[in-house]
């Protein structure tokens, strides 16, 4: 006889016990774990903000100039 449907639904998934991976919807979440996860998420957001702020800066002209100069040098062939 196959297991009943609701028995299958009660199977617990080990991943759900991992505080890094499970969502905030656990039946009886430990507040400290949820709090720590929220704080780590906030750190992650700020970290990306910090990085993206620089990524979004306009690229200084120097950077484009060095590649243009490198190009000119390359076209001289075997000299240098």
């Amino acid at each position: 006889m196959p297991p009943k449907k609701d028995a299958l639904e009660r199977v617990s998934f080990p991943l759900m016990n991992d505080p890094e991976l499970s969502g905030p919807v656990g039946a009886d979440p430990e507040p400290s774990i949820d709090e720590a996860r929220l704080r780590q998420q906030a750190i992650g957001v700020k970290l990306r903000q910090m990085f993206d702020e620089i990524v979004n800066e306009p690229v200084p002209q120097d950077f484009l100039d060095i590649l243009r100069r490198a190009d000119d040098k390359g076209s001289l062939g075997g000299q240098g």
């Binding site: 704080r39 700020k46 970290l47 990085f51 120097d62 060095i66 490198a70």
Partner: protein
């Protein structure tokens, strides 16, 4: 005209286009390694030139972002070995970041984050940036840093714990100048927290 490298003109154009597109990311990575914006731009420019010179050794179709980040990182550490002592906790970087953070225009939360990041040992800082902001998988970050995947994971995890502790304590004096004693205490806590377990 004979090319000095093995790339044909079309590949060279494609390579250059991709390299130009990576400039903003290389600048950001360099800034997190160096702290100082001018030194970071010098580092990024050196890395871009190195990447350009090495273009014939790049395998088209592989991850160019990871490849250029690795070049930049190697450049950073070869310069650092020449001029700085290798230290577990880079207090100089922390102090530079503190100065760099002294910008009234910048949002406070980001100032705090910059300062806290500057207090981390550089290998933790780079691991956290690559995985947490650079969009790299642990495996790619491990390739870039030349270490095992498990090492990257443990560095990221220690960096997160240390950052949390630093931010929790309040890493700077909100009225302006850093309080020397508080700073030293936070640094030593960060060192303890980020050390091997």
């Amino acid at each position: 005209m004979v090319q000095r490298n093995n790339l044909d003109a079309a590949s060279e154009t494609a390579f250059k286009r991709d390299l130009v597109a990576l400039i903003p990311h290389l600048r950001a990575f360099a800034r997190t390694l160096c702290g100082d914006a001018a030194a970071a731009d010098d580092l990024a420019q050196d890395a871009i030139l190195k990447a350009w010179d090495a273009r014939s050794s790049f395998q088209m179709g592989t991850n160019m972002k990871a490849w250029t980040f690795m070049i930049l990182r190697n450049q950073f550490y070869s310069e650092k070995r020449r001029s700085w002592r290798q230290s577990q906790l880079d207090q100089e970087a922390a102090e530079r970041t503190l100065v760099a953070a002294d910008d009234p225009e910048a949002p406070v939360a980001l100032d705090e984050m910059r300062l806290a990041m500057g207090m981390l040992p550089s290998e933790q800082r780079e691991a956290l940036i690559l995985v947490g902001a650079g969009g790299f998988a642990y495996e790619e970050a491990a390739d870039i840093c030349g270490c095992a995947v498990g090492t990257v994971k443990s560095r990221v995890s220690r960096a997160r714990r240390a950052l949390h502790a630093i931010l929790e304590q309040g890493a700077y004096d909100r009225d302006g100048s850093p309080a020397g004693e508080a700073m030293r205490s936070i640094l030593s806590d960060a060192e303890r927290l980020s050390g091997p377990r």
